[in-house]
Amino acid sequence: MAIAELEVRLLLEAIFDRYHYDFRSYAMASLKRRLAQACDSLHVTTVSGLQERVLHEPESFSQLLQYLTVQVSDMFRDPGFFLALRRQVLPVLATYPSIKVWCAGCSAGEEAYSLAILLHEEGLLDRSIIYATDINAQSLRMASTGVFTLERLRGFTENHRRAGGKCSLSDYYHASQDSKDLVIMDASLRRKITFSDHSLATDNVFSEMHLITCRNVLIYFDHALQTRALRLFSDSLVRGGFLGLGSKESLRFTEASEQFTDFSLPERIYRRKAS
């Protein structure tokens, strides 16, 4: 094994042992790039140097964690996906007395709020609960406040419209009292979303879901972890429940494809098989 790869493996073992974050089955090529960036920002020259820092200075671990986990997302990212949810999936979910949605890998909450808005616009939010999970505590704290910059939210307006938005996105947020550049998502949306810590690598099923979205998360996992996560999704979904992936993710190269049927292949929406 090349030294660089050995150093990465040792670091990931150390992080797992010491901090119980499991990155050991992350896709290696992009992980290596992010570790190289972390080395630069923490002023160490090797991944072994990074290991010394995170073991002896716990505060530097939280810095490293931002490199390993933070993914930036947009509201109503890939509007076609949300349009397909609106037109094809929500009418099916509407037949259930109550609806549970799991947004796995929610980062700063963009997608969770998008789902809440979508459910509201289709008249389903009152009987829905959205679980939004991530492993990054800092992201979860940010997400649960519902605070975004005005500039970013304005940038999401066009996405919302293309996703079939029924009114202006600005109807769903109001100005923060702290800063004119910040806005807060409406409490009516926030109270329907439960943000919590959950790891697709180490945690298990926590509720029965009707819709799971996990977009641009699986690309960072290796094949084994991808298989674990998809198994977890299949075990969490009701029969006929829906799974939405990122626009360049698919079940093609996994064994999990046996547990799902294609629902909307262009939008990467799958359905758990009935039996």
Binding site: N216, Y220, K248, F253
Partner: protein
């Protein structure tokens, strides 16, 4: 004996599409290495390069997918708005990590990861382009024992990218468009059947 490669990585931006059209048109299904291509395009654009370049008799062309095994003789294109990487088990990976040189996909990301995975079984080719993306990647290809190839400046519509690559890897092989097509055929077409 002619040197053989398992993978050819190609990167370019402005001015690279026409070059690629000519070069890929010269390949047939007897071309044995896999080819992975990053071209800088707008993030919102459609995922259609494989349709643009396909001609009757050309090798199979498709967008690269996450976790997809890299098959010999197939030409893969990075999808818009994703970095394309090569894993050590010779599969593709996609990521949405930060842009590099304002670009996603970035040539450096593909080349550096491919150099680790393929070592001296890799050829890296930098075409016309308007920024310095790819220079560091081509350096990694050369350092890992791969062959570094750069489009000759006088044949490039935009020289920033090939010029940066030449500065990073001064002993790169410089080729014009027709010489590049010949070079690929020389190293990639199996004659002995």
């Amino acid at each position: 004996m002619t040197r053989r490669f398992d993978l050819v990585v190609i990167g370019g931006s402005a001015g690279a599409i026409e070059v690629l059209g000519k070069v890929l048109a010269g390949l047939t299904d007897r071309f044995s290495p896999a080819v992975a291509i990053v071209i800088h395009l707008p993030p919102e654009g459609p995922n259609v390069l494989h349709e643009v370049f396909a001609t009757p008799g050309s090798p199979p062309m498709k967008p690269a997918e996450d976790k997809e095994p890299i098959n010999p003789g197939t030409i893969y294109f990075a999808p818009p708005d994703y970095h394309l990487l090569v894993e050590s088990g010779r599969t593709f990976a996609l990521s949405q990590d930060d842009r590099l040189h304002f670009s996603r996909p970035a040539v450096d990301v593909l080349f550096e990861s491919a150099a680790e995975a393929y070592g001296d079984r890799l050829m890296g080719v930098i075409l016309s382009g308007a920024n310095s993306d790819g220079a560091q990647g081509l350096r990694a290809v050369a350092d890992a024992g791969g062959m570094a190839v750069v489009q000759a400046l006088e044949s490039a519509e935009m020289i920033a990218m090939p010029a940066a690559a030449l500065e990073a890897v001064p002993d790169s092989i410089e080729v014009n468009v027709s010489a590049l097509a010949d070079l690929l055929r020389t190293h990639g077409v199996l004659n002995d059947r």
